[in-house]
């Protein structure tokens, strides 16, 4: 998701794919900083500080804000990014209050004691996946899953009324499902997806890079000012000032 050299993503095992969208790892070869863009997902991360004898469990709520990360050489993270509709797997009823929340170390273990055994050196992504699978399952409604799919495929351009009609649920019911399982409103999540698509339209991922006017139009912003506001909110930079070497997280609905 985040960072330059040393960052890798891979598909989760078929069993874990029910909950997990991506298994990622990052091993810092050298000290540096990275910008982590919000993706609306929850992550479970095991962090190993350089030369440390212990590791830290980190639980992240649905991300809606960018943050800068500084790291030392030898720091190592392995993480699982949950499917957006699986946020309640780690947060349960607390998901509605977990937006941009980060629990570390003792707080994280106290919150999810079942994951405490993972806090040891050398733990693997597969072991975290197995531990996740042992948590009480929280089935997402098929209508919610289809509305997420439509949000991804449309680049976040369907509003909640349209989404509700699309999957045959009432707006109220669909919004409730989003809050309970994703932890975000369909609107906030769609805005994040739109931001990521606009980023890709402006850069050369989609063949050449569009002008700001064309990108704002195709991404679904009313004008360039709206696009600029979304960039400040989710990225902390202007459309004309996309950081060099910014690594875009893999997002459904978008080419890698």
């Amino acid at each position: 998701m985040h960072l330059p050299a040393g960052y890798r993503e891979q598909s989760p095992s078929p069993l874990a794919a029910r909950h997990v969208e991506t298994a990622w790892s990052f091993c810092a070869d050298a000290a540096g900083t990275g910008l982590v863009l919000p993706d609306g997902r929850c992550d479970i991360i095991v962090y190993t500080p350089p030369g440390a004898a212990a590791v830290d469990l980190v639980l992240c709520g649905p991300a809606t804000r960018a943050f800068s990360l500084s790291f030392e050489a030898g720091a190592r993270w392995i993480g699982l990014r949950l499917r957006p509709e699986r946020g309640a797997l780690i947060w349960g009823e607390e998901l509605v209050r977990a937006t941009d929340r980060v629990l570390r170390g003792a707080d994280a273990m106290a919150y999810l004691p079942a994951l405490a055994p993972l806090c040891r050196l050398g733990v693997t992504g597969a072991e975290i996946e197995t531990a996740l699978d042992a948590l009480p399952p929280r089935r997402a409604d098929p209508g919610l899953t289809r509305s997420l799919e439509a949000t991804h495929l449309s680049g976040g351009r369907l509003d909640v009324d349209r989404l509700a009609r699309h999957v045959g649920l009432t707006t109220r019911h669909l919004s409730r499902l989003w809050r309970a399982h994703v932890g975000l409103s369909p609107k906030t999540y769609a805005q994040i997806i739109r931001f990521h698509r606009a980023l890709r339209l402006l850069r050369d991922e989609l063949g050449g890079g569009l002008t700001p006017i064309a990108a704002a139009y195709e991404a679904g912003y009313a004008d360039q000012a709206h696009m600029a506001r979304a960039f400040r909110r989710f990225g902390g930079f202007a459309p004309s000032g996309i950081p060099e070497g910014l690594n875009l997280p893999g997002m459904p609905g978008m080419p890698g």
Partner: protein, 133 residues
Amino acid sequence: MKFGYTIIYVADVPATVAFYEAAFGLSRRFIHESDLYAEMETGETAIAFGANVAAEMAGLAIVPNEPRAPAAGWEICLVTDDVAAGYDRAVAAGCAPVAPPAEKPWGQTVSYVRDLNGCLVEIASPMATVSTA
């Protein structure tokens, strides 16, 4: 410029091809080994199916076709001399009925169904050739 294809983005390309064979009596030209693209044997201008994920890969944002949602604002029209039989076959194969065959004032018999993906398909008799004097 020349009209090349109509490409409909769908969740499952092979399933859609099989459905079009059963419901409308069309036959497949080919399904790509990736299962992300297929063309039907519809003469010079092919109906083709692309997977939703192929739209993603091309960087397109689309409203995915969805049986439960209102149909997209366009349709394909299949022409047959026996509209009633064509309509019955389509519905028997799992199409959702929309408008049973009816004769229009201009002499054409017209019916509508929605396919497995929710796309509108018109089944109609050929129009008499209009002479342009």
